[in-house]
Subunit: 798 residues, 2 copies
Amino acid sequence: MITHPSFTVEPWCLRETELNLDVLAQSESVFALSNGHIGWRGNLDEGEPHGLPGAYLNGVYERHPLPYAEAGYGYPESGQTMINVTNGKVIRLLVDDHPCDLRYGRLLAHERVLDFRSGVLSRTAQWTSPGGRTVRITSHRLVSFTQRAVAAIVYEVEPVDGPATVAVQSELVANEQLPHLEGDPRVAAATDSPLVPEEHFAQETRLRLVHCTERTALRVAAAADHLVEGPPSTSWTAQSEPDVSRLTVTADLVPGQPLRLVKFVAYGWSGERSLPAVHDQVDGAVAAAVSTGWDGLVAAQRDYLDRFWDGADVEVEGDAQIQQAVRFALFHVLQAAARGENRAIPAKGLTGTGYDGHSFWDTESYVLPLLTFTAPETVASELRWRHRTLPAARERARQLGLSGATFPWRTIDGAECSAYWPAGTAAFHINADIAAAVLRYVMVTGDEDFERGEGLDLLVDTARLWRSLGHHDAEGVFHIDGVTGPDEYSAVARDNVYTNLMARLNLLAAANVATRHPERAEELGVDDEEAAAWRDAAARMAVPHNASLDVHEQSAGFTTFQRWDFEATPPENYPLLLHYPYFDLYRRQVIKQADLVMAMMECPHLFSAEQKANNFAYYEPLTVRDSSLSACVQAVLAAETGHLRLAYAYLGEAALMDLDDLEHNTRDGLHIASLAGTWIALVGGFGGMRRYLGDGGVPDQLSFAPRLPEALSRVTFRVLVRGRRLTVDISPSHARYHLTEGEPLSLLHHGDPVTVTTDAPADCPMPAVSARPEPQQPPGRRPEGLPPDEEHRAAAEE
Amino acid sequence: MITHPSFTVEPWCLRETELNLDVLAQSESVFALSNGHIGWRGNLDEGEPHGLPGAYLNGVYERHPLPYAEAGYGYPESGQTMINVTNGKVIRLLVDDHPCDLRYGRLLAHERVLDFRSGVLSRTAQWTSPGGRTVRITSHRLVSFTQRAVAAIVYEVEPVDGPATVAVQSELVANEQLPHLEGDPRVAAATDSPLVPEEHFAQETRLRLVHCTERTALRVAAAADHLVEGPPSTSWTAQSEPDVSRLTVTADLVPGQPLRLVKFVAYGWSGERSLPAVHDQVDGAVAAAVSTGWDGLVAAQRDYLDRFWDGADVEVEGDAQIQQAVRFALFHVLQAAARGENRAIPAKGLTGTGYDGHSFWDTESYVLPLLTFTAPETVASELRWRHRTLPAARERARQLGLSGATFPWRTIDGAECSAYWPAGTAAFHINADIAAAVLRYVMVTGDEDFERGEGLDLLVDTARLWRSLGHHDAEGVFHIDGVTGPDEYSAVARDNVYTNLMARLNLLAAANVATRHPERAEELGVDDEEAAAWRDAAARMAVPHNASLDVHEQSAGFTTFQRWDFEATPPENYPLLLHYPYFDLYRRQVIKQADLVMAMMECPHLFSAEQKANNFAYYEPLTVRDSSLSACVQAVLAAETGHLRLAYAYLGEAALMDLDDLEHNTRDGLHIASLAGTWIALVGGFGGMRRYLGDGGVPDQLSFAPRLPEALSRVTFRVLVRGRRLTVDISPSHARYHLTEGEPLSLLHHGDPVTVTTDAPADCPMPAVSARPEPQQPPGRRPEGLPPDEEHRAAAEE
């Protein structure tokens, strides 16, 4: 595995020991701070140089028309883009009239550290200005987990080699000029100057800007207050214009005599509330932050994170990089979700504008699994957001001629924004993914109120969708035609196994949960006939299987398509979608990302061990992993089928997606789903954790099948289950299940029932792992960390 | 059948007896004049009112960017739009200072007649100006078939109730303001002010404008000269500006003393030649026209058309409307193609800007069949245009990762302009359609030079395409995956039967023609191995068939899709593509236009009579005819399967597509393919004419199977076959084959060999027609002229 040489490997932080302007935008993503409500990219305090300046508020976006050279019925007319809101991070510095811009002068030292336990981004720099004066700059920044509207910065500057007159300009800046992005069609277009000024204010140490978006009419307010500590010469003034509000502090400094500024920033936004209301809201939040003080915010941040780590930490022995990466991942996933409060979790969190700030199915299928077991309150919040968009989803279903609800493939506010229907509208599986997230949340938390309320609403409307989308054939088999599964190199196919099995789960669960809550079911108009129709469709669901190959078909006919000519595909032609037409990808056996393999992870009880091994061996050489969503799922099935070395390699790929910028687009924001995939690979792969689904289709038991790759000597992870805190501690020889809190828990260890209590941990021996020969990947697509193709092939032949 | 009450039914002309401003744009399309090089819509001489002003030159277009909200590899970046060039038709009239605008004053009489034998559009009007003066206006207009660059107008005005001072302004106008079109996504966006002025000139009676298009850099010149006849008071002046050049003639007239203007207009354009060269070209063409004179142009026009009708006329007894419609159709198809000279034949000819002026597969599959048997020189010209675009088609194939050539789904200059790949790029059948047009042309004309030259080039490159597009499965069956057939309500399917059978023909023919011309084949790099690979693929071509239903599948699995819920589809929801999403149409049994049924027309020898009857009965209730390309093909198979009443109804639909504006878009131009379909329905349907394909895949004999519907007492048609002129005269009791010119001809009459000579016509008896019960159409989609559904159903049950 590769890491950037300026990043060090440490267990509890991400440390960058020098500033590399070539990867500045990437570093801004990995050093981004967020609480799920506010997002601040890791831009340098001085504002410039920057890769992509970014301050985001979850849910603040602008609309834009979606152009079509040839339009069609049901194509969404409006796109949505998360916008860069007022930047409250900027603290510019002048040293004897030279602006501190690290591109000029001489940078003697520069270090940034993101501490996963304190939730603070710290920076120290030593810089000689073009005028020859050297200063030491220290800053600390946080976006508060406990005060949702608040972020804060401590900025300190001190000359080291003689006196200096410094000016520090602490700003709120709106409508920053953004770099123009182009190239990869997946990189979203940025929206220029999205904010219309409504109010600007600057007085004493207080700043405020209020703006409104033009088309979505969202009012966005930012306020700041400051504490200034410096020598007696220190003075300040404040001034404001429509797009900038600024506190300018000047001081004559000598070595040993720093100037220190504490900046408290608060954000608020609303599509409903008045200017005075939003204005007061941010002023109040700032005042509260000032009252708490910097130290108070830091202490609360640490408390919040201590509680999180206590229930969520994953310890990895034997690979320090993976240890660091999984904590980096957990920290960023938490940041994406912590205080979203009935808003979406975007694919990039609030770390960048990639994918336009949209949420996709990866939230429910990759991010929520981790959060369900570690921070379940965030899951309820995300699913409440989905529930809040039910009216839009019902309207979309109606527009498409379907029953129930059709959730959008990509969205910010709940309206479909996907402009390419074969990989958007046709990817109906997102509806079952949401239903599965409901089931997972309810099973793991036991939150019956949610199940009876939002949960049942979501299950019923998605079940209705499936029943209207599919149909029975002359033999009574239930088919779902014309849909696209997870693999985006196949589209608009019949009976995608992943989709069909997830729909089956959705139909069964809706029927069962409705039966458990008859009064609410009646409110929703679900009668016995409807529930029976759901159960019948589920029972007769088509699951295509190629008998002569003895493998399941990703979708009907897939195994008879022509194989992609991998041998003739040069390495620079990946990702394939940038170099080959969809028509060619769709009609061949080539897979962007785990699809049938993902079905085996999500519905493990519907495949025998033999089938899992066969299928994994068949699909592995066809899967190119042009999606960051693939490696972690492959890791899970590689582990389950005994290919532990391969699982470990895939774990590495998922874990280092952003730290190593494997897809060359971390600049646009972090791959939150792939980060969550690090946890999936460890817990689902080496922990073998599954939710066992009973015959009723409702998950009712937790099972584990731990096994470690040679490289790892121990993996310990923690999960929260219905008020219990369970620690699973895996070593090569045995696994220990340890309950630190809560009632006794029954679980399965490699199929054997085990009950653990707080008094008695269970020590279980590890069965021997057997596996067939390791499957090959498409040429040139081996994950890092395995022997290259040649050796591998030779080894396989021996 | 319905006709507009102001149109009369006459055998040799289209006459409109009053002006109806509500259908002005439609009338401009049906009264359009063209010679395949110049197209003038039937706009009123005075320019306004108009529906859509239009003057077009075949091949003159502008490019525009194609927008994609989500772009993809291989998507065309540039669109092309036929532009409205300099309008040479305008002759404005002022009567005592009142502009003659028929929306004002009082229109006492207005008649327009398009004479199919003279090729002249004549108009008489009697109009009382708002000032109270009544004038008689007479005009005649032609676009010359014999002088390709020339059009001419005679315009005469005379007061009828007292003296009048009149001014007549004869103009060349560029960059006319066009009405803004929107709504149906299929209606193309117009291009505003596409012409950049280069030169303007007006002197004595001569006018000239030269412009250039901005992005395509095509230089367009128009020139005019005039003859003026009037009383001694008559005088004139000429003046010009960049976008208008004008001759103004004034005269004081009294009843009995008309003012007469003859206007000769010439057009020229080039992407290569200089301003002086193009300028001289149009001046020369005008001078030649003046020298020929109006009467000379009229006489030559008549001669040209006499020769055409002698070899092409279709006589129909028993239905005067069909008689008129088929001549209207033949006339307009000739106009679209006559002097195109190595340019495309657009879907709307040069009658309007519908489909952006693009050519599609309908040219080869609908228009060329008619022309091959009646005006074969135009077919060679069109195919030479395709040949000229081979480099672009080869480049497109390379871009798509295929061998050979991939011709564009829609284009003006040979570059792909289709922005929706499932119904564009994926419709690969166009390549086989072009190959089939080559075979048809060569068989019917015996043009061996063409076969050896352009023909073989086209066959080889298209065969190479098919070989690379398809693949053999484990059992050795050759499949073509991921393509779209003619039916645009199905897309991206496996083994579309139409596509596969046409590809089979293409592969076989390429192999056979290459074998016949070994030297040229060697030049093209075709060796025995390649030819064998083509023959092998053809021999093992998949042709999906549902054994339990005993019908062929339009594409693999089609017969197992869910049937469209026709009963729940209200009449106003047709065409379906404007009211339902593609995803829903694609996954159901619902057919926009003949597809499998078309395969049975194009490859009649590959289906038994029993199969044809079964298939027709199966697909008929699924076919909604949302495309104007459907009815004529259904007519042919209805006739073949003995459903003569139904065939007759479909003939009517094809024939009256534009005269009755059945698709409500005749305003945008005529449906040239549906017009040609009138001939296909009569000749292929009631004449039962087919080209029999030998085992070698190359058509080698003409066969007929005449049969008449009750309503018709006689159908007579003429075809040119290898220098022979054959007349087929069908009455209810027998068919007479009569050779008026050329060597003896062998043919088949209902399967029996017959030889006809110029001396001895063959009289053949008609066999009895038997048929199963008439198949039903989807509810509400019965063609006009049949009993309504209810009666029909009741009748079928008896």
